[in-house]
């Protein structure tokens, strides 16, 4: 026993002090396990070899990055050289001066990058971020089950509701998944639906919002009970385990559900329209360099590498991510082609979310309105008016 303790301490210290011999590039991303695997095995090694560095990858959720960056920048100990961040969480970083101004790098962006994506990286005319991964939700459905009940994939809300009713009647439990876990996934989902009902989501209580929530209230009893835990990652599992037969999710699920889990009966299409139009939020991630990063040059070099055609092609064919480049779809394997048709179909109806300073508050209030109205059955108009006022108060604060 007596010998054991010093040994243990020694071991711990060795582990902690075995520092890097090679220069390191510390990269923060928020990815799933399958995605990390591709990054570590396919994307990082060529760059590490070419630049003679070691990439240290750090997993962090989009919502946590601002806190960490703020702590590091204020303390003058920046331990992140490059980060990928959700394109809806950018204002705070830009306003608080936590990131490097990359305006002089704009000319380095390859020509084939879709211009709208570059515009979304600019704040007050300055380029703070670099495009690297656009994203749009497609709709997944279980072909076998739809055929079994003689259903077509829904084209609009009415067909969605009737499909939901059929599944519930036949299987006794709802089989259509709505991402209702809360947070950004639910807010994004609601944003998309409200726009397709002709509303402005940020108002929370205009006619389009009321229409959306009224419909959701009607739809809720027929949805899969797992909806309450569904977000972008868990949803894939629910579809793979037959606990849901239809869902909207980002395209990375194609690789996981169809290839990794071997669920060949899953198909995708661009999605259904709302009462006014079809709309799909363009999400995705951009790259940024924290202010005071000691490896800025290396980070910029890595950004250019990530934007290059060969890397984008790998991301497309290995991960099923849509690309920032219009010329990166050449190497897509055959089985994935129909899914990229779904992606491009959805992108045709793409809408960008407004980058507002009160986005976090919006996420909070729209989620609470959702829980109260949809899962607890509160009156639509009165509840939405209440949260509209809350958001107005928050706007004045920021």
């Amino acid at each position: 026993m007596r010998k054991f303790i010093p040994l243990l301490l020694l071991a711990a210290f060795c582990l902690s002090s075995c520092g890097p011999m090679q220069p390191r590039l510390r990269v923060v991303m928020g990815l799933g396990e399958v995605e990390w695997k591709v990054m570590r095995e396919e994307i990082f090694p060529p760059f590490e070899k070419e630049a003679g560095v070691k990439i240290q990858a750090i997993q962090m959720e989009a919502g946590d990055l601002p806190q960490v960056l703020e702590a590091q920048v204020r303390a003058g100990k920046v331990k992140i050289d490059l980060f990928a961040q959700d394109n809806m969480q950018l204002v705070y970083l830009a306003n608080k001066g936590l990131i490097e101004d990359l305006s002089d790098q704009e000319k380095e962006i390859p020509k084939n990058v879709i211009p709208a994506l570059i515009q979304a990286c600019k704040f007050k005319e300055k380029l703070f971020f670099m495009p690297y991964r656009p994203n749009v939700q497609i709709t997944y459905y279980n072909r076998k089950k739809f055929n079994q009940y003689d259903l077509e994939p829904p084209r609009d809300w009415d067909e969605l509701l009737s499909a939901a009713i059929v599944f519930k009647r036949e299987e006794k439990v709802g089989k259509i998944l709505f991402k209702a876990y809360g947070g950004v996934p639910t807010a994004t989902q609601l944003y998309e639906w409200i726009v397709s009902a002709g509303g402005d989501p940020l108002s929370i209580n205009d006619a389009g919002c009321i229409r959306t929530f009224t419909f959701l209230q009607k739809l809720w009893p027929y949805l899969s009970p797992d909806s309450i835990r569904a977000k972008f990652d868990t949803s894939n599992e629910y579809l793979a385990r037959d606990s849901a037969y239809l869902m909207q999710n980002w395209p990375f699920g194609v690789r996981i559900i169809i290839e990794e889990y071997g669920k060949k009966e899953i198909s995708t299409y661009h999605g259904f329209s709302g009462p006014v139009r079809e709309a799909h939020v363009v999400g995705g991630e951009v790259l940024g360099v924290p202010k005071g990063s000691k490896n800025k040059e290396l980070a910029l070099r890595f950004i250019r590498y990530l934007q290059s055609k060969e890397v984008q092609e790998k991301l497309v064919s290995e991960l099923g991510w849509p690309s920032i480049r219009s010329d990166a779809y050449g190497t897509v394997p055959k089985w994935m082609k129909p899914h990229f048709r779904s992606v491009n179909g959805a992108l045709k109806h793409g809408v960008f979310r407004k980058n507002v300073t009160y986005w976090n508050e919006f996420v909070k209030y729209i989620n609470e309105a959702f829980v109260e109205i949809v899962t607890r059955g509160a009156p639509v108009k009165r509840t939405l008016d209440f949260y509209h006022k809350q958001l107005e108060a928050a706007k004045r604060r920021t």
């Binding site: 947070g183 009970p225 835990r229 976090n360 609470e368 607890r376 928050a394």
Partner: protein, 282 residues
């Protein structure tokens, strides 16, 4: 006195200062945060409190916390007592059984949460067992909200902490002399009567101790609801966590933590009173 123990006081100071500094200063700061207006940052203000009190999810969190504490404590005590009584019997394999009952103490709480997730998932193992036994046809939604979700949380918590209750009660039972029990047995009193009139009264101080120690822990329950039900079913601690981490609102977070703190202070006050009355050593 002061002079005689001068060295001791000096040696004790770093420990006490660390504990005091790291509890009182943060608590003072948390209190300031709680009384700061969450909208415009003015202090003092009751705005953060009036916000959480008007918030339906906060009310649910208070209810859930109280429910888990009350129901959980009752069940844990009953089960712990039952197990302790089982272990009081002399049977073959008693030592092995006792060791087995200690297993949950060796499982970190977050691991318990992970394990319970497999059990209570919609396509999880509890539903599968019930399905195979022919009890249910449609999978039940254990973690979706409502009373059965609270019961599932209670069960998960019970799994982890009942051994602790059992150990406390077993220590109590073993301190009762065998002669008393045997005398009652010879008198022909039935098992239940012996339990009701002899064991339980003698066990009372230990039951009180288990109740209070577990009660305070139950108020603070955090990891299990966070990992198992997340935002769907919140308790006070996870409500406070979400207000801060998900919505970036330290003021309402601190306000709800303050309410939890008050609930625990009341429990501690009761505890101190009981200690004084009964002279139970820690």
């Amino acid at each position: 006195m002061m002079r005689k123990y001068f060295t001791e006081v000096l040696l004790l100071m770093p420990l006490l200062l660390y504990l005091l500094g790291f509890t009182l200063v943060p608590m003072a700061y948390a209190t300031i945060l709680a009384f700061t207006n969450y909208l415009n940052g003015t202090f003092p203000s009751l705005a953060s409190f009036s916000y959480i009190f008007s918030h339906f999810q906060f009310k649910e969190a208070v209810f859930n916390t109280l429910f888990i504490t009350l129901v959980g404590l009752t069940l844990e005590l009953l089960l712990g007592l039952g197990l302790a009584l089982l272990l009081l019997e002399r049977f073959r394999g008693r030592r092995f059984f006792r060791a087995l009952m200690l297993l949950p103490l060796g499982i970190p709480t977050i691991v318990v949460a992970s394990n319970m997730r497999y059990l209570f998932d919609t396509n999880g193992f509890l539903n599968e067992i019930l399905y195979r036994l022919g009890i249910i046809e449609i999978p039940l939604n254990w973690m979706g909200g409502g009373l059965h979700t609270l019961f599932s949380l209670v069960i998960a918590d019970m799994w982890k902490v009942t051994p602790l209750v059992m150990l406390i009660l077993l220590a109590g039972l073993e301190s009762i002399s065998r002669e008393v029990l045997e005398a009652a047995e010879i008198d022909g009193a039935s098992y239940l009567k012996r339990l009701r009139f002899i064991l339980l009264p003698l066990l009372k101080p230990f039951i009180t101790m288990a109740l209070i120690i577990r009660g305070i822990d139950a108020f603070r329950i955090f990891e299990l609801p966070l990992a198992l039900t997340g935002r769907t079913v919140r308790v006070l601690a996870t409500y406070s966590f979400f207000e801060y981490r998900e919505f970036g609102n330290p003021n309402t977070s601190a306000a709800s933590a303050a309410i939890l703190m008050v609930m625990i202070l009341i429990a501690i006050a009761v505890y101190m009173k009981v200690i004084k009355q009964r002279e139970i050593s820690l």
